[in-house]
């Protein structure tokens, strides 16, 4: 039995606290090289991670850095600093604690490198920056422990891969470094443990008591949800009642646009003027911080939010979580519900609000998955090579390196354990010369090999550029939105540049819960005025769109096999029964396709259940094939479960459309020129260090500030189709926005079995698709025609077409 140092023990006793069993277990395993703790929110997880550090530092004999704490959120680092300082100061422990993020002033950052604190709280990006300095060895001398918080979130992104490569570097500098990961509930703890461990060392998994099962239900409303859409406006009165009946409610949405619309509707119904806030990633940082602070002080009764509050500090008084819209992913739902776990050992309370009729089915399936503790997750592929390229460049910034040693280091990170030497060398080659089939840069290599065989930057000044472009977070091209004033008005948030480009003066849109009027675009800032009266015409700024997980899709298909659905509300059960009567319900083992005429067009509905992104890709690929076959497709729309295509000709034999080989060729050929692929390429090219991020300063002079990644992509495809970055782009296309992996999964599942139902009119299950937003016209010849029409119209309107030219 490991005991706390007396001072700490007394402090706990004085507070009347006892140590949780998992905190004690962490103390006992303090010597282990790697430990993963999985504990629910509110379980004192962070304290469990830090207790061994406090115990080891209590005698004041340690010099230099002892523990590195890494969290995905800057705010979390700052918050932990406050929370840790309380016991340290009250007990009078001789421990220095400091945080370091992108917001830390340069002077303090310099001081931290020269004279590091005992405990440094930071983010993956700030850590990568620290190891890029030649004095990293001195900074990290004496480091004993690293605590990775919210590792379940990091492990799902390239930020986590970058972090693990940085830890591999640290392990070389500090061979006795011990690793601790803190995680929320996950589907596969073993995978996270392997991800965290210094390969091939083991990593022990500690499971804390998960506490009582959550109290989770579907919200019952008088009005049935609508057939389509995602606003859930019908539920506003019922949600308002729930807010009134609870102390503090957190209301999650899947997209920022939906959060904005919901907030507006809720505000219109807020007759008692309850304090309600909104929080999402497009809002200005100061606005978000104000909402967070008000939340901590317990001043807000509800906060409308998106994934922006999936992680972060625990709000004390949170007693209800509402998820609006289908949860899409059971694991994330469980983690969100956990946010309401305000007291350890009290059940969290959560409500699901389906936004449309189909989501009722999905919510039901999700409730059952939560009850069965059947969490979804797809194993991540091998460590992404664009991140590795950046790591090689970062390593070079720190000084000359030996390729063999670096390869050994990199493969000690779990995600890169299976990396071959050839793959590593290709990445090194890319960093050095670009790795082109045409060897053009032998004179101007970025990295060059010295006489002693080690690699170094040819031009040491390149280090500053590499550091400036460090990190793996992909921002879309965002531009700020400000209130128009004489001297720079209040910042409201950000919108995507593509959205801003569609605005004309007088257009109104929602941001931060207010309706604003677009006035002008000045120096890459959207200037707006308040315009409360008018109904907003446009409200889109695309955040992440999650696709329904494979596991949840399978559960829905399972549910369809039932004879009846007593667990579903009557309106939904009757809808499914009607579908079975006039057509049939989709099944897992075959692909249901319906064809029917509607409003003079032939329609084809493909129930692939592959998730929104894959169904969208399927729409692109199928319409392309249909065009080739002379079936005259005109457009399509995709949801998480189906793609609906309309055109001039009826499809009577769908099998040739679903030839796996033809679909794969389609991906390689036509889709490769698609904007989504170009976006994936831009991401990979930015992370790998081929193109530089758009910095605000570089944007101002406009011309030639940045290279168009689209042109680089087209050039590579034409002249160097086997280039590393195209290979990485193809790998990315299996997941994310293209999600071709899900199409492959569907093809495997149906194994050539296709059922075509030729109907006389639209089926009950297909009807909601006609009401969906986001219809995609089939481009190609038609797109050019549209441009010509618009150009002609503009010429006519302006009278310029009558001028002699």
């Amino acid at each position: 039995m490991f005991d706390l140092p007396p001072a700490l023990h007394d402090w706990f006793a004085a507070k009347g606290w006892s140590i949780h069993p998992h905190q004690q277990a962490m103390l006992e395993r303090a010597d282990q090289p790697c430990t993963l703790l999985i504990a629910p929110t509110g379980g004192g997880k962070t304290m469990a991670g830090f207790l061994p550090t406090l115990a080891e530092l209590a005698d004041g004999r340690h010099e230099g850095l002892h523990t590195l704490y890494i969290s995905p959120l800057k705010a979390l680092a700052a918050d932990i600093k406050r929370n840790l300082r309380t016991p340290v100061e009250e007990i009078g422990l001789p421990i220095r604690i400091d945080d370091r993020t992108g917001d830390t002033p340069a002077s303090r950052r310099r001081r931290q490198r020269a004279d590091p604190p005992h405990i440094l709280l930071t983010t993956p990006e700030s850590l990568a920056l620290l190891i890029s300095y030649p004095d990293a060895e001195r900074t990290f001398r004496g480091l004993q422990r690293v605590v990775v918080d919210e590792i379940h979130a990091l492990a799902e992104s390239k930020r986590g891969d970058q972090l693990m490569l940085a830890l591999a570097r640290l392990q070389t500098l500090c061979p006795n470094l011990r690793r601790v990961g803190l995680s929320a509930t996950v589907d596969d703890p073993q995978a996270i443990a392997q991800y965290l461990a210094h390969h091939p060392q083991p990593c022990e998994i500690l499971l804390a008591d998960p506490g009582p099962a959550p109290d989770i239900r579907m919200l019952e409303t008088e009005e049935a949800p609508p057939w389509a859409g995602g606003g859930a406006a019908y539920a506003i009165p019922a949600v308002m009642q729930q807010i009134k009946a609870h102390r503090t409610t957190l209301i999650f949405h899947n997209t920022r646009a939906q959060a904005e619309i919901f907030f507006r509707n809720l505000w219109l119904a807020n007759d008692d003027a309850l304090p309600i806030g909104i929080h999402h990633g497009s809002l200005d940082r100061t606005q978000r911080e104000r909402v967070e602070a008000a939340m901590v002080r317990g001043e807000l009764r509800a906060v409308i939010c998106t994934g922006s509050l999936d992680l972060g500090i625990d709000w004390g008084d949170l007693d209800l979580v509402i998820q609006v819209g289908a949860p899409k992913n059971v694991k994330r739902l469980v983690q969100r519900i956990g946010r309401a776990n305000h007291r350890y050992n009290a059940p969290s309370k959560a409500l699901l609000v389906p936004a449309n009729r189909f989501e009722v089915v999905e919510c039901r399936a999700a409730l059952e998955a939560v009850r069965d503790n059947d969490l979804d997750g797809s194993p991540r592929g091998p460590g992404p090579r664009d991140v590795l390229c950046q790591h090689i460049l970062i390593t070079a910034c720190g000084g000359p390196f030996d390729a063999d040693a670096l390869f050994g280091e990199v493969t000690s990170a779990g995600a890169y354990a299976a990396l071959s030497r050839a793959e590593f060398d290709a990445c090194l080659g890319f960093c050095a010369t670009g790795g082109y089939a045409l060897r053009a840069y032998d004179r101007w290599q970025r990295l060059q090999q010295r006489a002693d065989g080690r690699w170094q930057l040819r031009d040491p000044r390149a280090a500053a550029r590499i550091r400036m472009n460090l990190g793996t977070i992909q921002d879309a091209d965002l531009i700020k939105v400000r209130l128009k004033r004489s001297r720079g008005g209040k910042p409201l948030g950000e919108v995507e540049e593509a959205f801003a480009a569609t605005l004309t003066p007088g257009d109104t849109f929602l941001i931060g819960g207010q309706t604003v009027r677009y006035e002008s675009l000045r120096e890459m800032t959207v200037e707006v005025t308040r315009n409360a009266g008018k109904k907003p015409k446009i409200a889109v700024f695309s955040g992440t769109k999650f696709a329904t997980s494979t596991q949840l899709s399978h559960r829905i298909l399972e549910m369809f096999r039932q004879d009846s659905w007593p667990d579903l509300p009557r309106h939904t059960a009757e809808w499914l029964a009607l579908q079975r009567e006039v057509s049939e319900l989709p099944r897992a083992g075959s692909l249901l396709i319906e064809s029917f005429p509607h409003q003079g067009r032939a329609h084809l509905c493909i129930y692939g259940f592959a998730g929104r992104n894959a169904q969208q890709t399927l729409g692109l690929l199928l319409t392309k094939r249909m065009e080739e076959l002379g079936l005259d497709p005109l457009g399509f729309v995709a949801t998480d479960y189906a793609t609906l295509i309309w055109g001039l000709q009826e499809v009577t034999d769908p099998a040739p459309l679903f030839e796996p080989r033809a679909l794969r060729d389609g991906l390689e050929g036509w889709l490769a020129g698609n904007a989504v692929m170009k976006r994936a390429f831009r991401g990979a090219a930015t992370i790998a260090g081929l193109i530089e991020r758009n910095t605000p300063g570089a944007r101002k002079n406009g011309r030639q500030a940045t290279f168009s990644s689209d042109i680089l992509y087209d050039t590579l495809r034409r002249y160097d189709p086997d280039h590393l970055l195209l290979d990485i782009t193809r790998e990315e296309a299996l997941h994310g926005l293209v999600d071709f992996g899900r199409i492959e999964e569907m093809l495997d599942r149906i194994n050539g079995r296709i059922t075509l139902r030729r109907l006389q009119r639209i089926s009950p299950l297909a009807a909601p698709l006609l009401l969906e937003m986001g219809k995609v016209p089939v481009k190609g010849a038609a797109q050019e025609k549209l441009l010509q029409q618009e150009a002609a119209a503009l010429m006519r309107q302006s009278g310029l077409d009558r001028l002699p030219q």
């Binding site: 010369t433 670009g434 082109y436 045409l438 053009a440 840069y441 004179r443 101007w444 290599q445 970025r446 031009d459 000044r461 390149a462 550029r465 593509a498 480009a501 569609t502 260090g689 081929l690 193109i691 530089e692 406009g702 011309r703 030639q704 500030a705 940045t706 290279f707 168009s708 042109i711 680089l712 050039t715 590579l716 034409r718 002249y719 160097d720 280039h723 050019e784 549209l786 441009l787 010509q788 618009e790 150009a791 503009l794 010429m795 302006s798 310029l800 001028l803 002699p804 030219q805």
Partner: protein
Amino acid sequence: MTGYDFTLAGARLTALASGALWWADHRLLCVSDLHLGKSERHARCGGSPLPPYEGRDTLRRLETLVTALDPATVVCLGDSFDDDAAVRALPAEELDQLRSLMIRRRWIWIEGNHDPAPVAFGGETLAELACGPLTFRHIAAPAARAEVSGHYHPKARLRSAARPCFLLDRSRLILPAFGTYTGGLRSSAPALTALMAPDALAILTGPTALPVPMPR
């Protein structure tokens, strides 16, 4: 060749969808801002190693035009090379490609701000060229008339697609950049709105040449 026909100071010209200018009466082909050697200069100045294929791509597109039109005169309207060192570092294949294009025709290099020195491998190097009613120079002179220039790499947006474009009013024509790795300056930039008359056109390049009122 798809293009947009217009007259400037009495000269009947065609803005080709590919971004080049064709003057059929003189069998004169004009391209601007090739920026050959751009990727080499980028790497030399400490930038990342960009795909080194933009020279052959630019020349391939130029070759298509020259083969189709068989011009008597080709005018390169300045910034043909990214800098002097880029000229010297031009790969042998690209040099051969360029030389074969130059055979049997008058080839004029107009001096740009990137390439002030005369080119060593043939053609005439001029500060500007007067031909019929028109003057060809790299950077537009605000008071000039009947002028054809380049330099600004103009681009314009229609239905949220930004494309390189020609800018045209009664006094002048500005060509888009022809080089593969060349960014663009929005037609709404002050430098361009100050230069062009209020009724100016932007002629978008791409699959077809599309004239629209110049977006400001």
